[in-house]
């Protein structure tokens, strides 16, 4: 066995042993959740508003028997990504209020102690009561726990490509592509076809089916038949005959896009950038008393000279109608230096971006999965 392969094997074995040890001795990878009761009440005008509940009713499982007339209720489940961290925070709060931090393990006794403590403000009591009630109804969230493990697994699968191409990486890559494509298609259907096209062609039907909140002022608009026909034309390329018909809407889109972008470019990039480069070579910076600040003036002027110089020499570098010799050649050489500095800055920024992505993934693995740091 090659030495490098042996070292990598040892690393993987050590990681496996560490993982097994963490799973067996800690709360690692488990997500807990507690219910929060939501009650809404229908107003006289037909709208709904949320009913404010005290902690004693808010963090308790919803029961239909508690509802009054014209009320609807349900539970939402709030996740606690690190139970140990939650208990530590609860224990610290109890200790600060002069109570035994060990009460975190007995939420009912904690509630009694909080209710019977006369030395607390109402606001502090409410916070501690909420925490005790959350703790009492806290249960393991199977779905969220599975999600954390799945997320960690796929992260490691993708990272495994750094070692070499392998079936785990291929599997994760395929899942990402498939899930993203399906998600984009579903979102596109509901946000564009349903909300923008169908709601203008059949507003009544949409109001009765998918979008009850569709404003009444939206009525049938014949103009939307044009994009509807274009959509059908685009999909026509899937038919065995007449696939050429999809070129018509494509030609329309290309023409529209080119026109829009050309005008936007001319206004925002061409004209505005020329205007932004027309700046004075000497800038006089003055203080509040009106006297010139020499160093600031020199620095501001130098900045303007660099901007103008870099723009001009960069343009000369891309001007190929004259041979790059003599003064033109010199200017072009300066221009290429400015370009190289720009590329260097871009590369530096790119590196920073990639490191940030790695740091975020490691924060997730260390925090949400391994519980070595606070969860993100």
């Amino acid at each position: 066995m090659k030495q490098s392969r042996l070292i990598w094997l040892l690393i993987f074995v050590a990681a496996g042993v560490f993982l097994a040890w963490r799973v067996s001795t800690t709360d690692m990878g488990r997500v807990w959740h507690h219910p929060e009761r939501q009650i809404h009440q229908q107003n006289e005008d037909g709208s709904w508003s949320e009913v404010e509940l005290p902690p004693s009713r808010k963090f308790d499982l919803h029961d239909d028997g508690d509802l009054e007339a014209n009320q609807e209720g349900w539970n939402t489940w709030n996740a606690v990504k690190n139970m140990k961290g939650f208990n530590e925070s609860f224990g610290t709060s109890l200790a600060t209020a002069g109570m035994d931090p060990e009460l975190v393990h007995d939420p009912v006794a904690a509630q009694a102690a909080i209710d019977g403590n006369p030395d607390m403000t109402d606001a502090d009591r409410e916070v501690l009561q909420s925490m005790a009630l959350m703790s009492e109804d806290m249960v393991l969230s199977t779905g969220r726990t599975f999600g954390v493990w799945l997320s960690a697994f796929f992260t490691l699968c993708i990272m495994s490509f750094l070692y070499r191409d392998n079936p785990f990486y291929k599997f994760a890559e395929s899942v990402v592509i498939g899930a993203s494509a399906a998600y984009v298609m579903a979102v596109g259907f509901w946000t564009m076809l349903v909300k923008n096209l169908f709601s203008n062609l059949a507003p009544g039907l949409m109001r009765e089916t998918f979008i009850p909140g569709l404003p009444e002022e939206i009525v049938f608009s014949g103009w939307y038949l044009v994009p509807a026909v274009f959509t059908i034309f685009l999909l026509w390329r899937l038919m065995p005959m007449g696939g050429w018909i999809s070129r018509w809407p494509l030609a329309f889109f290309i023409g529209i896009t080119a026109g829009l972008r050309l005008i936007a470019f001319l206004e925002a990039d061409f004209m505005a950038q020329i205007s932004a480069t027309m700046i004075p070579l000497w800038v006089s910076v003055q203080d509040a008393a009106g006297s010139m600040m020499l160093w600031d003036s020199v620095w501001a002027s130098f900045t303007n000279i660099v901007i103008i110089g870099a723009t001009m020499t960069g343009l000369v570098y891309f001007f190929f109608s004259v041979e790059h010799k003599g003064a033109v050649g010199g200017a072009a050489r300066v221009g290429i230096w400015f370009l190289m500095i720009t590329f260097g800055a871009s590369f530096g920024y790119t590196v920073m971006g990639r490191i940030a992505l790695l740091a975020e993934r490691l924060q997730y693995l260390f925090g949400n999965w391994l519980h070595l740091t606070p969860p993100t």
Binding site: S4, V187, I211, L214, E217, F265, A268, Y349, L362
Partner: protein
């Protein structure tokens, strides 16, 4: 030594990088940030607006870029909430809706007094890229008849009087590419002179600097810009400074420092190996 370095397997470098990024995260290293003029411009653009101003937050990124952009999106949201702005969330990327949900969940958790429909609203995702901006800058209801959840804009208190995004006092764009800040500058900020600020990925930042200051008031470049912005918010709002979850970007700068030191060392070592090899006639 020369032979070892010359034939070094690239996977050792990956392992070194993994360790360099891991240790600062495990040790939770973070360093104080010095606020650059660019970040200061972004901060003051928000800070100078009066309470109740209307702000459009367009989150044009997806989970692939959230390592860089989520900290600044969260910081923008907190800053707007502290200023009691009316927040209108939108995204032009299909996978951007979960990114908006992160911010609305943040508002529900950290600012429970703010109410959906009165203080913040989400338009969700709109397909069409720059076409969306081109339309909503003159008529928002043409493309966005309802909010993300299907409620008509005329039935939501904070949108019933909104006709177009020219009524916004500020546009905040968090951008990972196309459509993103460039399109907001081209189709909204420049032609309609709308006050716009941006936070973007490192790859985009050098391409967007020319728009400053006339077309773009300020720009947060990558995680460094986000960390400086967090610092500016911390100095102004001590309540946020005490929240560990509001220091995401600053915590990632520790990993950046270690990784960059490693990269500088590797570049120097690589050049030494190259020049030694050339001297020996290997190159």
């Amino acid at each position: 030594m020369y032979e070892f370095l010359k034939n070094l397997d690239r996977r050792w470098i990956f392992l070194l990088m993994l360790l360099a990024v891991s240790f600062p995260i495990l040790g939770r290293w973070s360093f104080p940030e010095k606020i650059s003029p660019m970040t200061h411009d972004v901060f003051t653009a928000i800070e100078e607006l009066p309470e109740g101003s209307k702000v459009l937050l367009s989150f044009d990124y997806d989970p692939g870029s959230q390592g860089e952009l989520q900290p600044m999106a969260s910081a923008f949201t907190r800053h707007c909430a502290e200023k009691k702005f009316k927040m209108y969330f939108l995204c032009l990327w299909p996978l951007g809706e979960p990114m908006i949900e992160k911010s609305t969940n943040l508002l529900k958790k950290e600012y429970p007094d703010l109410k959906y429909g009165e203080d913040f609203v989400s338009f969700g995702f709109k397909a069409g890229g720059e076409g969306v901006i081109k339309v909503i800058v003159t008529n928002i209801r043409e493309l966005i008849p309802t909010d993300q959840f299907g409620t008509g804009l005329s039935r939501i208190p904070m949108t019933k009087d909104i006709q177009n995004i020219q009524q916004m006092d500020l546009i905040i764009n968090v951008s990972a590419g196309d459509p993103g800040t460039k399109q907001w500058v081209q189709f909204a900020s420049t032609p309609y002179d709308l006050l716009t600020i941006s936070g973007c990925t490192g790859v985009q930042a050098p391409l967007l600097y020319p728009y400053i200051p006339n077309q773009l008031r300020g720009l947060l470049g990558a995680i460094k810009g986000a960390a400086e912005y967090e610092q500016a918010i911390d100095e102004r709002y001590p309540k946020i400074a005490a929240m560990p979850e509001a220091q995401e970007a600053k915590q990632r700068m520790g990993a950046q420092l270690a990784a960059h030191i490693l990269m500088v060392i590797l570049i120097i070592v690589g050049n030494i190996v190259y020049f030694v090899g050339r001297k020996r006639g290997d190159a």
